[in-house]
Symmetry: C6
Subunit: 77 residues, 6 copies
């Protein structure tokens, strides 16, 4: 994760902001479990676990709050 | 999810804002588990799991905070 | 849920705001599990599950934040 | 819960605000499980369950955010 | 918990603010389980339970939001 | 944890802010479980537990909200 992956919290639209929130939720997992093979194995587990999917959605919701505020809720859209 | 599904966070009423929060909570699940058949199987599980339903409600609550703020709490309603 | 159930986030008192937060926490459950009989069965489960009750309280807390802010914390009360 | 139990979110001190947050976290449990005997049985369970105690603390933290903001963080104290 | 343990949310530095957040997360546990021996037994459990430790960290994060805001993010530091 | 590890919430970029959020999420674990060997054992557990990784990501999301706000969302970037 040494390259620049988060140059700004600004996005052109709410939907791009949502995509950024999804990205923000995934990076913490990568930083905690850096082994790509281990993450692939875990993905097969949580993709089929309703509670895990809901928990992922909760993390996205928290990040989307941040991104939405950073973009002043895309008031002009 | 390539089409525009989130053009704006603005809604006419608090109730439409709540519906949008529900939608926002579901999209992250779809993006994490893109297979519709797998989601149908999981839905049968979490629809009958009290903890999962409460967890869904928690995600909606977080998104509703964002949508409500974006709409300045529908102060004119 | 097609009728108007959320005309406004405004309430006369903090306590009515809390009641609204409870309502907001329940609607997402209804929208996710629309079958009333299924919800009755689940209610018997989570009413007697300490973790589920605490999780319900967490959802109420999040919605109460929103309602309180929408009412400017009932500063005149 | 028909009487007035929440006349205001204002408290004289941060510590009283914290006590109010604890109260706010408990009322949702009472409203969801109105049977006092059932709550007593559940209390014996969650008092000895580390995860449940931490979950209670999380709910208090969310309500404390609300109460603190309503009191402008007791800036004069 | 009858003595004054929370005279103010102000701290001199972010780090002291973090320490206060840790304290705030612990007090709710003490108020819910007042028996010190019981808490000692529980501590041995959650100190060795990854999920419990992460849940503690989540509560600290929520309180740190409150403390940071009360201190205007220590903008002068 | 007696040294200064959190002199400021300010960071030059959003990405450094995210790194700080990760750090903030880890310190509470260290303060709750000060034994480094115990933490190493626990790390092997939660690195391979999808739910734990998602929970870590949730804590990071909460801290990132705080850090982002402290930095006014890096509006100039």
């Amino acid at each position: 994760m040494s390259d620049t992956w988060l140059p700004s919290l600004r996005t052109a639209t709410p939907q791009e902001g949502y995509d950024l929130a999804v990205k923000l939720s995934r990076v913490a997992v990568k930083m905690t479990q850096p082994d790509a093979d281990a993450r692939t194995r875990l993905r097969e587990v949580y993709e089929n676990d309703a509670s895990a999917l809901i928990a992922v959605s909760a993390v996205v919701a928290t990040h989307f709050q941040t991104v939405a505020k950073a973009n002043k809720y895309w008031a002009d859209t």
